[in-house]
């Protein structure tokens, strides 16, 4: 895991490429697989409903894209990210079944004591078009 002291300003950090497959869309659900409420049937999970809605394929929830960004920052900053992180993300292009996406972050500024860091963040397809973009801020809590 990268530590906060090893992050380099203006360097882009990337998460792994993720395949947005139908099984991944079906399991991105608050209902456990096999439970009566699973699978959810909507334009995120059903090719038929997506087509009916005028979409070319099931569309990934923005929440799923956003979660990749949060996870990347957790990887970069460690467990402290979960008690001092903040993300503001705008969704700018739909992600469909069959797309590949990855989360990205660039450290824009930081201070040492208390540690405070500001990132430009985004999520991109494998043609490098952005599907979501925004900012993330980490502020070290009083307890460290």
């Amino acid at each position: 895991m990268t530590t906060t002291t090893t992050l380099t300003p203006e360097q882009a950090y990337h998460g792994a490429w993720k395949d947005i497959s139908l099984p991944r869309l079906l399991t991105f659900s608050p209902h456990v697989v096999g439970s009566p409420d699973w699978p959810p049937v909507n334009h995120h999970t059903s090719r038929e409903l997506a087509e009916h809605a005028g979409l070319k394929a099931p569309i990934a929830a923005g929440t799923q894209t956003e979660s990749h960004v949060l996870a990347l920052l957790g990887h970069l900053l460690g467990v402290s990210w979960w008690s001092g992180g903040a993300l503001d993300l705008r969704f700018i292009s739909p992600v469909y079944e069959g797309d590949r996406i990855r989360a990205c972050a660039v450290l824009k500024s930081s201070t040492a004591k208390p540690f405070h860091a500001e990132f430009e963040v985004w999520c991109e397809r494998d043609d490098l078009t952005k599907v979501a973009a925004g900012t993330a801020i980490y502020t070290e809590s009083a307890g460290g």
Partner: protein, 149 residues
């Protein structure tokens, strides 16, 4: 094909309206489901560490949508998740029972479209806040809908 477009997508919604509370346990099975969905098997999310596994952010954000995901706007309108703000206050670990609450935080018009902001708060069994999320949704008229006469 819709032939009617309501005057507003949220005719009965007011700022301050609340949903919940709902209690949910972050089970190992649920969290592992999200590790699959996210293709993310980071060691911090898996058993076998000195501390309990962290709940994956996908698990938490999905739970934060769970109480409001079934909402449908008025006829002839479609909602789009356009922006999201998340404040991480304390980590959530597998095995915790969480309490989720939702509230309408804002209603406004921007660039000719109605928007609303729903805020979800997640607290732990100790009553302390774990996460706050603000979900911004913009509405547009259905492509297939015709304006009401």
């Amino acid at each position: 094909m819709a032939s009617y477009v309501a005057a507003h997508p949220l005719p009965d919604i007011q700022v301050g309206m609340e949903w919940g509370p709902v209690q949910v346990e972050v089970t190992e099975v649920l969290n592992e489901q999200f590790l699959f969905a996210m293709e993310d098997y980071g060691s911090e999310y898996l058993p076998g560490q000195p501390t309990p596994p962290l709940a994956h952010p996908g698990t938490l954000l999905s739970l934060a949508m769970s109480g409001i995901a079934g909402f449908r706007p008025a006829e002839g309108w479609t909602g789009m998740h356009a922006r999201d703000e998340v404040e991480l206050v304390r980590p959530v670990f597998v095995g915790e029972t969480l309490t989720l609450r939702w509230q309408v935080a804002d209603l406004y018009d921007k660039r000719g479209r109605p928007w609303w902001v729903r805020e979800c708060t997640i607290t732990g069994a100790d009553g302390q806040l774990r996460l706050r999320r603000r979900i911004h949704t913009a509405f547009q008229r259905d492509v297939s809908a015709e304006p009401a006469e």
